[in-house]
Amino acid sequence: MLSHQPGQKDDAVNEVAVWSNSDLRTLGADQRILVELMRDPAARQIKAAARRSTRSSFPYTSWQLRRMRVLACAAGGLLSRRDCRDLTASDEIDVPLSRLAQLAAQSEERGDGNYVLRRGALLHGDVAMSTEFPRAAEPDAGDGQLRIAVEDGRETSLRVTAVHWELARTLLDAMRPGPDEMVRRWYVATSGWMQGREQHDTVHLRHARQLFPDDRDILFLSGCQQEIYASPMVQAVARAAVLPAGFHVDVPQQGPALADAELFFRHALDADPGLVEGRLRLGHVLLLRGKVQEAADALREAARTADEPQLRYFAALFLGTAEEELGHFDIARDLYERAAALYPRAQAPYVALSALSSRRGDRAGARNEVQRVFELPAAPAQRDDPWWDYAIFQVRNVDALFKRLYELFPVPEP
């Protein structure tokens, strides 16, 4: 395992992916100490080790600690520093570590002493994304997270997650002078990836908001997450989950989830009033919260400015619902027809039209409209309803998000 190419499931990812959570926690402790030593290879007192020693004895023998100092010299690109020369660090590292030290030193010369931290976070993120589903490294959940797997609305398994996301976040937290654009892009891309795979993680976005409280993209994705949490399916699964003692599902009740979603979307729109999808989803959330007039206002604006067909489709459906709730049945009907015209093989507009007819006491009309559903192609593959992908539509650009992240990493000299 000599190299990892960000974004690839390579040998490095495969090797780290099989490490147990116990190993990873040990590694996490080592990483914290390593980071501290990178800042000061000759440090006499190590805070991270001291914190850890409250639960166990100091983790290293004196020889091991010396080796950690050598590794810190390499990882920090500090081999030419006096402390590291005194350690004869450059004599004690092999070729790969020398190469790493060289890259880190080049980064340091450019004013960025966080090379290893960035690379480490990318590696752990890639490991987390490389497995189809977070694997249970060991049955003991310890102080980690559990993940509920849901298939077709039913809980199918409860798994211990590997702690790679946590390790990645910890590394980025250690950056000096603080989180920068790369960190922001990493959180946006990885949060988008999670939502696209419907692997929801409350902690990840919460941490992102702590670092970037006014960022449009992070606020938008936070709103989307809460909107999804408020869905009947997630609520039903979260309420029914049977968990080991001491664990809870980090999903709020529907009301608070919708309130948070509204808040996040509003903040995202404060940051960027031109965020059409933010306004669309705000309108949807307001509708679900019973703020129908406000919802209609937001959705009209979204419908007016949306340029993607899917966004226009959602806007027509949601605004149709709002108008229906306001008693404007003819307008609602026109909007549902507009949605049907945008996606003629979609089911939702015809179902909505039928229910509208039923609501108006027009039973024959309700039958006729539902007949339009039945006249759609029978094969699921031939139906085309963006509504079915609404929960992941917000991350349709996830490839571009990662591309923007990797743009920040120039290809090094061989």
Partner: protein, 312 residues
Amino acid sequence: MHGAVQPARDFADSRIVAAEQWLKALLHHTMVTALLVTATVGVRTQDVTFSSRIEAVRVDVLVTDNGRPLRGLGPADFEIRDNGVLQHVDLVSFDQVPLNAILALDMSDSVAGERLDRLRAAGSAVLAGLQPADQSALVTFSHVVRLAAKLTHDAGVVRAALSSAAGMGNTALLDGTYAGITVGATDAGRELLIVFSDGIDTSSWLTADKVLDAARRSDVVVYAVSVRSPTRPDFLRDLTALTSGRLFEVERTENLDTVFVSILEEFRHRYLVSYTPHGVSREGWHKLDVRVKQKAVTRARPGYLSAPSAAK
């Protein structure tokens, strides 16, 4: 220890080796994004006129004495209050009006293999119990709602559609149930809707409230069969209560055919009572109170929703 130089490749202390391996793993040469996965992914004025047609109200009523259906009751035996106003019962029929038996069956991913076979067998058992004058239809739903067999007197057509139905996709329980309610809502016949689902809704457009609203406006009696799971079948419970049907929560599906047949039997033992409302406003929610003069238990829908019919 400064002089204790030891080549890294010989360094075998497991306490440190992970950190060293990790550091080496960070090396890179090129940037590739192969890991990534793309996400699949003029205001018009209202122009409505209202018809003034007065329609009879039909109420399906199950009357039991010690759990057994009570037979032989006539109009004089029933007492119906519509919003508290005693109504004159025009007609009572028992096992005389043909059925529109609609099967709305979950054909999502979770219904496959043995469970699908049992569901087909249960549906076939219901079809086998129908009379020649009865009609049946099959609605299947995954995320896709389909009318697999339209309302027909030929149960063989429905049986054939049932045998070819297969499970795939997510679950649009609400949309599928709504379609089932609507398909059977004809002026002729009594509408029995049997809904089967083993999961919760994951992809419907309609909300539970909208489907319940449609049920309030229809004469349908909904029986539902749900495979027991930690998630509560709240929607099916509400729907069956609202339409005076019943929810069966089964642990397993071995005896699904028995459950389905018992539904048909119970439905056949219901009275269809009709009256023309008087003394009550036509629109809005009508609370119903249905009783019989005999010592017996009645089960009927708690009310119905009447809206003015719109015409353009």
